[in-house]
Symmetry: C2
Amino acid sequence: MNRNTLRVIPLGGLGEIGKNMMLFEVADDIVAVDAGLMFPEEEMLGVDLVIPDVSYLVQHRDKVRGILITHGHEDHIGALPFVLSQVNVPVYCTRLTHGLISVKLKEARLKEPADLRVVNPGERFQLGTIRAEFFRVAHSIPDACGIMLETPAGRIVHTGDFKLDHTPVMGQHTDLSRLARWGNEGVTLLLADSTYAEVPGYTPSEQLVGEALDHIISGAPGRVIVATFASLISRIQQVIDAAARHGRNVMVTGRSMIDNVHMALDLGYLVDPGDVLVPIEQLRSLPANRIAVVCTGSQGEPTSALARMANRDHRQVHIQPGDTVVLSSSPIPGNEQFVNRVVDNLFKLGARVLYNRIANVHVRGHAAQEELKLVLSLVKPRFFVPIHGEYRHLHLHTQLARELGMPAENAYVLEDGDVLETDGHTARLAERISAPYVYVDGLGVGDVSRVVLRDRRHLASDGVVVVIMSIDKQTGKATARPDVISRGFVEPEESETLLERAREVVVRALDGADHLAEWSIINTKVKDALGGFLYQETHRRPMILPVTVEV
Amino acid sequence: MNRNTLRVIPLGGLGEIGKNMMLFEVADDIVAVDAGLMFPEEEMLGVDLVIPDVSYLVQHRDKVRGILITHGHEDHIGALPFVLSQVNVPVYCTRLTHGLISVKLKEARLKEPADLRVVNPGERFQLGTIRAEFFRVAHSIPDACGIMLETPAGRIVHTGDFKLDHTPVMGQHTDLSRLARWGNEGVTLLLADSTYAEVPGYTPSEQLVGEALDHIISGAPGRVIVATFASLISRIQQVIDAAARHGRNVMVTGRSMIDNVHMALDLGYLVDPGDVLVPIEQLRSLPANRIAVVCTGSQGEPTSALARMANRDHRQVHIQPGDTVVLSSSPIPGNEQFVNRVVDNLFKLGARVLYNRIANVHVRGHAAQEELKLVLSLVKPRFFVPIHGEYRHLHLHTQLARELGMPAENAYVLEDGDVLETDGHTARLAERISAPYVYVDGLGVGDVSRVVLRDRRHLASDGVVVVIMSIDKQTGKATARPDVISRGFVEPEESETLLERAREVVVRALDGADHLAEWSIINTKVKDALGGFLYQETHRRPMILPVTVEV
């Protein structure tokens, strides 16, 4: 590998939303940015999480100088416990992110202690031959950063997740002037967030949401219950501020919300303007129009505080007519049905419900097209790699770059495992590395394969039929009538005759079998005969498991 | 039942989207409106369709005078084959709807011929003591109608699915003047479409889509491929018209699209302005900028024409750079991932892809809030029942009615199986009837129960483990080591040691068992021991099926 060559290798986050991880490799050093998880898609049955495959890091362990974390969302930090247990290298991040990672690693109980290092935006630090600097960006969590790397192939800018917001709640702007300075000095490669590359215009400011919440809280006749992301500290601050202005106390419920509020108060990211926050136990003693509640459940997650309230299952909060419930979020794709059910149930209990489709109670955390163009214009990179998004997002983002005058051949739509090599002047795709999905299911990491998932899909769609055959060891003849049991196939009561006839089919299949035939041949024969019979009768194809017992 | 009492009984469509069916019952007569199906929700594993339970109609067979069909969409006609095979009564509908139902019933091969009767909007006909009249509405299929019923309890207006559109493509407006006249004469009850009650303002006119399509077709450098709903005849007409204006021929692909285009041409609902439509075989002989293709697959359905093109699996159409693909639709909830994958793959093949998030290539078929208010204002009903929607849609629709001055107690949010009784002056909820979901899976109608679905979900999440134990009939002792096999649980290769240890667990559980104990007790013991062991080892809970073979 040439001393001036930089290799850019996405292990996750390109071609899917989540499990973000990007590698930057030079002759002697590798630096990773982020180590996130992805929530499983619909067809990944039973899978809890998906994480990037880090075999490449394990293989090149000696070169790995550290993992830089842009911000504390799960799709950027969630894979850390798994990654660090394989490659325990220093992790660099800002202060709030450090707090969030610490909580996560404590729960994971790693064998070796992790080496977490807090860095401040603007501070420069050396990772072998690479020099790194974090820079502030506006996003839906405080202390979010992008990362600038000075490499032998020139300067690299990685935006992390970002948007522009000229009136952010906690005063954290995207550091456009730094981006402009680097742009003027020369940037080899820009990697920029593509999550909302489909959306024209600008993402509205958090200020709009603050105004809407203030309006709702001031005008509500009874209690106001606001559900939002536990990491969206600025939204929580907006509720606290509006409550303070209108003489309400704020209570917090939902485990992750309570944890995050405590941590953010301790670290100074959340400010109580004066005894506004009170324990949830005061709910009964305060009048309804003096109460605001902040809780988890804005995605309708079945075990969250809001979902419990909607199911009349929350210990303290019993929804009643006069309550106003705000879902300050927009449903993440795949969660729509959960959210809809929670909204339906809250309406049934008599609450007034405000959610993203009918009220301006949320803004996105990602930049829309005009913001993306602005960053491209300021940074003026020679090469461009859109990151964070499915293929169409990445593609549309390169289209924006082309509209701004970038030659088509300088913008690369990469997929996980692609390798882009550049010396700062030219760039080319090198040989791919392997970067498959790693499924986490219960305690198992990587032991759920395509075969297991295919079987689960088969079982899910038509259930299972087990055929038990006792066969005489000597003669190879059936010693008793075969038995057939099923689960998830047909209604047990209605299926009795069907399964009785299925036994006949098995008997006939065995009858014709060569008595000394291999079990596998007998099994196939039974499977085919029974499968054909059941399909003909029901048009279903359950998984058939023939079991032979030699007696 | 009093001679002046009307009972309104929703069997489907309230509390869910789809499987619409509403009963109107008076002393001697029952009239049903629509008989639709619903596509299964995510957790209804393996289910093909959901239909309404019509036991009430079967029970009161003698009173049922007919089923009136508002329009030819699946969620309004899809259950007809199942319903007519149980209650073969006359079906009344407009001409195009008749065409669509005929195709459907032909495929279903009913034992008795159905009695389909074409009615024209404005024509009055008697159904026992009830007099009925269809009236035109604008919707995303031609010949859509609402229904007016004159009953002993007064006039009932049922909108069906509708929107207002002052510049519709095929000239079919919602008949506002008729609604106004009935409103002036007096309407007891209005039932109105709530599908888009969450959406403020007006649904834009189809004209906008026509202009966008014209612009796309005139400016495209190569072929233009437009995917849309096969029933959205007006959209197909828009493509034909724009193609004609810009010198392109139109080819049609996708089975249901071909069928519908033929039928609509035959019935005169689609007009070819002069040899614009040509067979798909001419694709190779025409220059790219003379070609437009209309196809199925706007929902990303895996076997549709567009999905095949996206997977390079379509016989005639091979996507190439220069192609413009338009998805003239918006994804139905649940189909987003299918659509996203198709869009991603089309981009990968080099096409320019225009879809609802990035271009104005579709408008909704349902009325938004201001349209709903207009209809409420014109009809001025004494009582109001919002229909077609999940709970929040119905709730928000009644809220609109209240804003217009309707007393809260006159608007009823019903759920399937509720019974609303009115004599025209007062109304009340009577005792509910049973109206469960009926699942259709393969050939089975109603033989997939909650138990079967629960088992499928269990199988889907962690797979199945079968334990085979041979036990001596006389002694009750195990005659051989138990066997343990699994599917969908863990990777087979990795699981060998695990399953070997699982056998040990079973052996120990059997060892301690009372030799003459009941099988069921032994089974429970084995299940508990093995379940505990596997959970401890993997944090998964596969379905455990103990099988005892007596030898």
